[in-house]
Amino acid sequence: MQLIRNILWAAALAMSSLAAQTVSIQLDGTDFRLVGWKPVPEPAEGWQSLFRVHVDTPDAPAMLGTYTPEPGALLFHPRFPLADGMTYVAEATLTDGRKATAILHTAARDLKAETRVEHIYPTADTLPANILKLYIQFSAPMSKGEAWQHIRLLDDQGKTVPLAFLEIDQELWDAAGRRLTVLFDPGRIKRGLVPTNEMGSPVTEGRRYTLVVDKTWHDARGAVLVEGVEKKFVGAPSDRTPPAPKLWKITAPQAGTTNPLVIRFPKPMDAALLERMLEVENIEGTITLADQEREWRFTPVTPWRSGTYHLIANNLLEDISGNHLDRAFDVDLAAAPRQAATSTGNTTQTFTIH
């Protein structure tokens, strides 16, 4: 690909170079080389007053880069790799009046749509009115900075629910750029706040909603998605009860097997945190989620041995309404005593393998 692009550049240079008899501009790898000049000291205004490379837009300043004078040539090395699908202009005006110009067209990106939405968590089709967040998982890295143009929550009349999400410019992506975290506006979920009183919760119990992800959202290459996605769900009552580990059903596999340990929760839990905040002490294995994040399956690398094991849950583990194990998302102080800050401790349960 790189080679093909270079050939295209070289061809473009050869065609459009309007060099005078002995001065010309050549492409050398990713550098621009002014050939045939008579070496002079760097002008007070900088080398760019003699030889400048710029993008082909009106009044474009010279591109950042470094100049290296060589015998018979002046080399410009761009600070950043040349971008795809761009036109670059290299212009030289020498002190003796000779001029040269070259125009480069870089090959456009391959914009075939290949990226898809793989999952939207929670996967349940009934979600509490105080649902706190969604995760949108893509098959490839996405472009940053356009999320809020491409995600909408529609009510059962097909109207956009206004201000449903916490639209922060920074966008909450993972490091790979493949998973976006979408927070519902916390001001409309928390009780007793002006936004909640003025507008109510974005999701209302008993009403139907459609989360729309547009096909026109660009991936990291600049291509649109293969298809748009809709997730339909129904609003359920708000859930303000911390998940209770003692209500989790633990099904232990048999010793000598690598069958999964299965933990069943009474309600869906946060998909991302189930991967990070629940573990079997000192045992390596892989986690899979099932039944709309009501089930956590842990398959060990080596067969289970008879004995007692510890299932450790970090107390920051949340259900899908943001309730931690040891604290509801918003605590009603009229009904519960004021707590210390959320614990960073764990809740440990034991199970036995026979």
């Binding site: 837009t57 761009m86 990291a220 945190l273 629940l278 918003d330 102080l333």
Partner: protein
């Protein structure tokens, strides 16, 4: 003459080395993974929030020559920055803008590219409007890591957790960092003593919102401004859930649970981006840029006199007005005692403080 210059150079180098050692900095290349919010500390120290690198970097800009601010007007700054970086404007994101309080040069935190190949860049605009790169290739710097909550040792397929830094500020020897996790709903505000000690980790404080004295929830800080209230160093902060609160700096102690005192409830649709504090005509004001409600001006004389809003019938908080002439503001920062600097979709310009 040459000797004098050499001597001056030596003195300058010695001074810089002294400054660098005093601030725990070492000279070399700074490898940012991302360039997010910026803040200036003392003596031209620039703090850069690097969300992907989970750290805050302090850089000695050496840009300490005092100057007074002139009128700033760079129209089409997005196009100009794009051209400088050899890319199209749709591939450029200006993440933050701050003014060096000494030199009045403008620093821009920029991302070139939006996908996998995205590169962080720090740019500097001088009084003439000329934009250049502020190179991080050979600068005195130090870093402070932002801690990540425990990662499950067994089973986790990857670690997609990331804390997105939404604001950085320096006040009274401390760097204050607000951020939002892309997984657990946490309300950690981090403070780091500066100069950074070696391998220092930012300590976190959990911020809570006591809504009308009845409901208590974790309240991530979206943006904030250091502010002295009744001679007490404090911050005025905007939560993601909209209330505006005050928190004394002395409360920001590691591991502590802190509850801000609500001084205004700004209502639904309020999405604060940046805040600055200033004095005019013997009164104190806070100017707040807001992504959907324009720029708000709050009269902030004697904030200590505003009691914590504790009842819904008690909405008598800090009075504010919307400045109709300022629209489309994406970033707002102080330029000098009389002027602010605003960044819109396409322009960077100074405006008189209203």
């Amino acid at each position: 003459m040459r000797k004098t210059a050499f001597l001056a150079g030596m003195i300058c180098a010695a001074t810089m080395a002294f400054a660098a050692s005093n601030t725990g900095m070492t000279k070399g290349k700074v490898q940012l993974k991302s360039a997010g919010p910026l803040a200036f500390g003392p003596e031209g120290i620039l703090f850069i929030g690097d969300s992907l690198g989970s750290s805050v970097i302090a850089v000695d800009t050496g840009d300490t020559k005092a100057a007074s601010a002139g009128k700033v007007e760079i129209t089409g700054i997005n196009q100009k920055v794009a051209a400088l970086l050899g890319a199209s404007a749709d591939q450029i994101t200006i993440n933050d803008v701050k003014v060096n309080p000494l030199s009045k040069n403008v620093y821009l935190s920029v991302t070139r590219g939006k996908g996998e190949g995205a590169v962080p860049v720090i740019l500097r605009a001088d009084a003439s409007g000329k934009i250049t790169e502020f190179s991080l290739d050979n600068v005195a710097s130090s870093a402070s890591a932002l801690p990540n909550p425990p990662v499950a040792k067994a089973g986790a397929r990857s670690d997609p957790r990331l804390e997105t830094i939404t604001q950085v500020a320096y006040s009274g020897g401390k760097v204050i960092v607000a951020g939002l996790s892309n997984e657990e709903f946490s309300s950690n505000l981090r403070t780091i003593a500066f100069p950074f000690e070696k391998n220092v980790t930012a300590s976190s404080i959990e911020i809570y919102h006591g809504s009308h004295g009845r409901f208590e929830t974790q309240a991530p800080v979206r943006t904030f401004v250091p502010y002295t209230i009744d001679n007490e160093p404090s911050i005025v902060a905007a939560y993601t859930c909209t209330p505006l609160v005050t928190i004394p700096m002395s409360d920001l102690k590691p591991g502590k649970k802190v509850e801000g005192a609500t001084i205004a409830e700004l209502g639904a649709g309020n999405r604060p981006i940046d805040m600055i504090a200033y004095k005019k005509d013997n009164h104190e004001f806070i100017l707040m840029a807001n992504s959907s409600r324009g720029v708000m001006k709050l009269k902030s004389d004697h904030l200590e006199k505003y009691k914590n809003i504790t009842a819904q019938t008690d909405i008598t908080g800090v009075p504010y007005e919307t400045i109709g002439s300022l629209t489309g503001v994406k970033h707002l920062t102080s330029l000098d005692d009389s002027n602010a600097l605003i960044l819109t979709e396409s322009d960077l310009r100074s405006v008189p403080l209203p």
